[in-house]
Amino acid sequence: MSDNKDMNNMINDFLSNGNVPDNVKEMLGNLKSNNQNNPANTNINEIDQEKISNIINMLKNNNTNNSTNNDNSIDMETLLKIKTIMDKMGNNQNDPRSNLLKSLKPYLKDTKKEKVEQYIKMLNMAKVMDVLKPDGSEDKK
């Protein structure tokens, strides 16, 4: 409400100076009369402006929070995933599947020995794929 009073005073001062074209005078007069005759509209406008500003502030805060949270979570998640992948790739000696295939190796022909190595690599890749699943769950044996 105080803003409207200030605005009316400014319009009055502006009109009293005299160097204003007639069209502008009419427009300012209409604006003044609208403000004085419809205080309800001004209240609604004020409320709307306040609401809009509040909503904008909330959205801004949410956006900033979400962006910071997302950045942190993605970083942490990716780091954890990379760590687990590296651990799993490094722990080939403790993998019972690859150990079993390696133990069978001496009893196989030379052509199959090469295949054993390929299958061990495949099993390791499967382990990595388990980690990269979207839900992060691993097959329990």
């Binding site: 295939l101 069978l104 099993l123």
Partner: protein
């Protein structure tokens, strides 16, 4: 490689054994035995089973006849 086992003279491990008209190598038999033991021990690692099947000649023939790109 030949090993003399009592009652089984000159068993040659390089030659395939014929069981029910199917020729099976010794190494395939070994792998099937391992698979049976794993199954009995309730190991449900399908990738391991697939890799073991693919190591056998019979498994390879069946797999590539099923999934051959030149069908």
């Amino acid at each position: 490689m030949t090993i003399s086992i009592p009652f089984i003279r000159d068993f040659n491990f390089d030659e395939p054994i014929e069981i029910l008209g199917i020729k099976i190598n010794f190494e395939d038999l070994l792998i099937f035995g391992v698979m049976y033991l794993l199954y009995k021990e309730d190991v449900r690692d399908y990738l391991l089973f697939i890799s073991l099947i693919l190591l056998t000649d019979i498994g390879q023939n069946i797999f590539f006849s099923l999934y051959s790109p030149f069908k």
